[in-house]
Assembly symmetry: C2
């Protein structure tokens, strides 16, 4: 018996995955854009490999596709086919797919068409709609690698749909692939030994971010039909969404089901991993939320879900925002500061009120989240890596060296976290004394990360997102603009305030990140997902980026 | 400097507490019932020390008292005075009070009367209503000992009202004392070195239970005006409530605020300590719930609370129950089995459906809860005991000997618990196939513990309650009947199934527990508190125990 190295196993898996692509959709290497072509956002619809009908379908949001399927203008099969074709092209551009099961998706779409034909009834509100899945969601018959080579061939153990997948399937959604993630989903770049790195279609020299990087790179290339599911325990939805200028919602824990999702840190409950939608449109994102919660009633199947419907909200005409421009730890890149300023300016011009936000305890809460991640001394990650002997990536090295925390120390850390969360909540309440009408703010507007795109290996700071994982608050992202080397230049007079700040400042290169996405984060309180989505609509409409992904066809 | 022993400190504290009673309310020792008088339930209203007006007040539920205060028939001061007078008598009978601050309560009542007089407005829905507090709730200016001698004189550190106390105070509630608990609130009998043991007014040879035993012993003697707050992490509301035939609600975590409550296991989050109301009437209990949630909006002040109003529920006319008579581990005492049978019989006679419930994973989930309690290796409890060198009670000895769990093992235990909770939820869903109308059950009816009252040191099994702490489901208790030595006799043919069963069986003594309370537990799913309270109303009305605490005056 030959002992296979982790690289052998990874290659075997990758080769198997590659057999799942449809040959007629694969574009010859020499017809693909060269590595010198950094921005490939428009390539799928300009390359000539998609039919105008395929473009029309994939440039429609989910509610529109649903209408066309209902009216039998499009069949679910035709939609799935167009979707998979475009996803196949996207993959050739940025290496975003991990498991590929186009045939299963097309077969299910055909089955849905037959049901509709025979019964005259749609199976649910997502009948025939394609939903993309991050690799951590178990799907019957497919592997869930979460980037570990040791999991490349283990479908048996995870051979049931996760709770969320099952619920969406029952609502009519069609799944045809899963998307790439970093090892254990604990790195800010989506790379692993099996599938390699997913690059950023805004600028292929930049990372797609992580851990939902496969999703977001794909999403930016799929057009308006894109709606996928990622997960977030420290920023894993928001960071890649911001790096691809997508809409996402990181919900509070208990809104969307997580049962049957695989984790690199299984059983960690001190900070909850949640999943949420990512999309090129807020219409698709909202359809997803309503369907999962109100149709899916996930509290009936996931013991951690809250029996809480997706509620209608009525916003005040004039909203009150607090803006956080800099968390005092790591200064954002120029394009991010510009994106925040643009947002504030447009909100003020539209008559909304904007006050300043103090980043209370952001550093400590971020550090605490990091301590929670490592509290098992990296034991679970080491166990999974040791299945094949795969080495740790530099971003993950602390999981190999961490010392296991004692449970009593963990309890004390919980107590400290709760105290800081209380003070944060009080700060929110106290804004009532600073606003024109004496009510507290409705939301915070701030960066998602310091980076308007970032080169490989240069992502070093998650403080702008992780704080809201500690708080378990609802937070989303909306697109604003793109980095522009002609105006987003280094402030040569800036004096970094600490090592983390210096690292980020020193590594900034306006030329390198040119064209990178620049989004902003909108934050509401715990379980205010509906309010947050409504506010994201207002802000993106005010900014004019509600239609950021619309294309003239 | 003399080093004080823990007994010296405890005595000093007890003596200080005793100075807080009003001399004119204290009954001379020789006029109190002798230790041979076991049942003292009626003593407060029959002893002649309370005026008929004081009896009238204390035999009114909270909504009635509120009306009388609003109409100025009674002043808040008069209500507080009657309440404290009766509580003082209760204390002399069963030793239920820990911190005593009648003067503060009376002063606040006077202040509320003045406000009402001057403004014509009540400060809130609880204006002038007395609410009793378990000793774990921090109250400005009072100690929170949670039974540790080392905390007997530490008001400074905890010198703010807990979130819940503050919210109730704002709604008009009046606080005049706190009630006794077991050390760390981790024993099923309310005893500690400072205040000693709280006995059971149904039969003073029996324990009041724990950990909310001070509350429940008091409640049974206070009459219909009683509404107090206890906490529950393994059964600490339901066990003492059942041993005093009271109504209680153990809510799911996040419904009522816990911030600023003291714990013997601070920072433990694997199983949540929650607090909830205990009362002699469901009318008071419901007023409490509505006020705390809808008026108090605790999500604005406690970061762990859910933004979820107290909702109106409409029950189906015919309810479906599952009954669990025996969990397969420890067989209940005869009076408990009789109480469950009485409940089932009355429900069936009223036209409700009753099917059988399988105690799926009850033993393992109970064991897991026990492992969570001890996961810090008893470090926090040892630290608190070591402040004065107080020894551990036999019930607590495992906190002195436990080995600290590793965080990685804790994560694995979380994963196991979640898997078992999923299977439990699926079992609930699967009842749809067994009921007449093919919908799942509405609630489970079952014992609260094996014991219809229990002698000191004989409480050995919390499996009937702890399983719902693991699940975080809503569970309540309602009174049914009392143990009767003439019919609740030992089944001499019974063969115990295991050591725990044998221990409970062997220690049962029909004579000893004669007159003990026999309640039942009603269980709904997570966050179904409103539905549970509505069902508790239906069941107690059907049983005729809705008015269990009504007395002919």
């Amino acid at each position: 018996m030959t002992i296979q190295s982790y690289l052998d196993i990874a290659e075997k898996k990758r080769c198997l995955r590659d057999t799942k692509f449809k040959k007629e959709w694969l574009i010859p290497e020499d017809e693909l854009p060269g590595s010198d072509v950094k921005d490939v956002l428009s390539w799928p619809i300009e390359c000539g490999f998609l039919s105008s009908r395929e473009i029309e379908i994939t440039e429609s949001d989910l509610p529109s596709i649903a209408k066309q399927i209902q009216s039998k203008t499009w069949s679910a099969f035709e939609v799935t086919s167009a979707y998979c074709h475009r996803a196949s092209i996207a993959h050739q551009l940025v290496n975003c797919l991990s498991e590929v099961f186009f045939e299963e998706g097309l077969a299910r779409a055909k089955e849905l068409d037959d049901i509709y034909e025979k019964t005259g009834k749609l199976v649910g509100p997502l009948h025939g709609l394609p939903i993309s899945l991050k690799d951590n969601l178990n799907v019957k018959g497919q592997a869930t690698t979460i980037g570990f080579v040791g999991f490349a061939f283990n479908p048996e153990e995870f051979n049931e749909d996760s709770c969320l997948v099952s619920l969406l399937r029952n609502a009519g959604a069609v799944f045809s692939f899963k998307t790439n993630v970093p090892v254990a989903m604990m790195m800010p770049e989506s790379t692993n030994y099996i599938f390699g790195n997913t690059s950023n279609p805004f600028n292929r020299n930049l990372t797609s971010g992580g851990s939902s990087g496969g999703e977001c790179a794909l999403g930016a290339l799929l057009g308006r039909c894109y709606c996928g599911i990622g997960s977030d325990i420290g920023g894993s939805l928001r960071i890649p969404a911001s790096m691809q200028n997508l809409f996402t919602l990181r919900p509070s824990s208990g809104r969307f089901p997580t049962l049957g999702s695989r984790s690199g840190l299984p059983g960690l409950e001190s900070v909850a991993s949640v999943n949420g939608p990512i999309s090129t449109t807020l219409t698709s994102l909202e359809l997803y939320c309503k369907t999962v919660v109100n149709e899916g009633k996930p509290w009936l199947t996931d013991p951690k879900c809250l029996e809480l419907p997706w509620r209608e909200v009525e916003l005040p005409e004039k909203l009150i925002f607090a803006v956080l421009k800099d968390d005092g730890v790591v200064k954002p890149y120029p394009a991010i500061s510009r994106a925040v300023d643009m947002t504030v300016k447009s909100l003020k011009e539209a008559g909304h009120e904007v006050i300043e936000w103090n980043p209370l305890h952001h550093k400590r809460l971020t550090d605490i989240v990091g301590e929670f991640f490592l509290s098992d001394g990296g034991k679970h990650c080491k166990e999974y890596a040791n299945l094949t002997g795969e080495p740790f990536f530099p971003y993950m090295k602390m999981y190999n060296t961490a010392k296991e925390m004692s449970v009593s120390a963990l309890w004390d850390l919980h107590s400290e976290r709760t105290k800081l969360c209380k003070e944060y909540l009080e700060q929110w309440n106290s804004t009532a004394s600073k606003t024109a009408c004496n009510r507290p703010i409705d939301a915070i507007v701030m960066p998602v990360s310091p980076y308007s795109g970032v080169g490989i290996g240069k992502f070093t700071y998650i403080g702008y997102t992780a704080v809201f994982n500690a708080l378990d608050w609802a937070a989303g992202t909306i697109p604003v603009t793109r980095a522009d080397k002609s105006c987003d230049v280094k402030d040569t007079l800036y004096k970094p305030r600490n090592d983390a700040d210096k690292l980020t400042y020193d590594l900034f290169d306006a030329e390198e990140v040119d064209g990178g996405a620049a989004a902003v984060q909108i934050v509401c309180k715990k379980l205010q997902e509906e309010k947050l989505v409504s506010i994201m609509k207002v802000v993106s409409k005010t900014l004019g980026t509600e239609s950021y992904w619309d294309r003239k066809l």
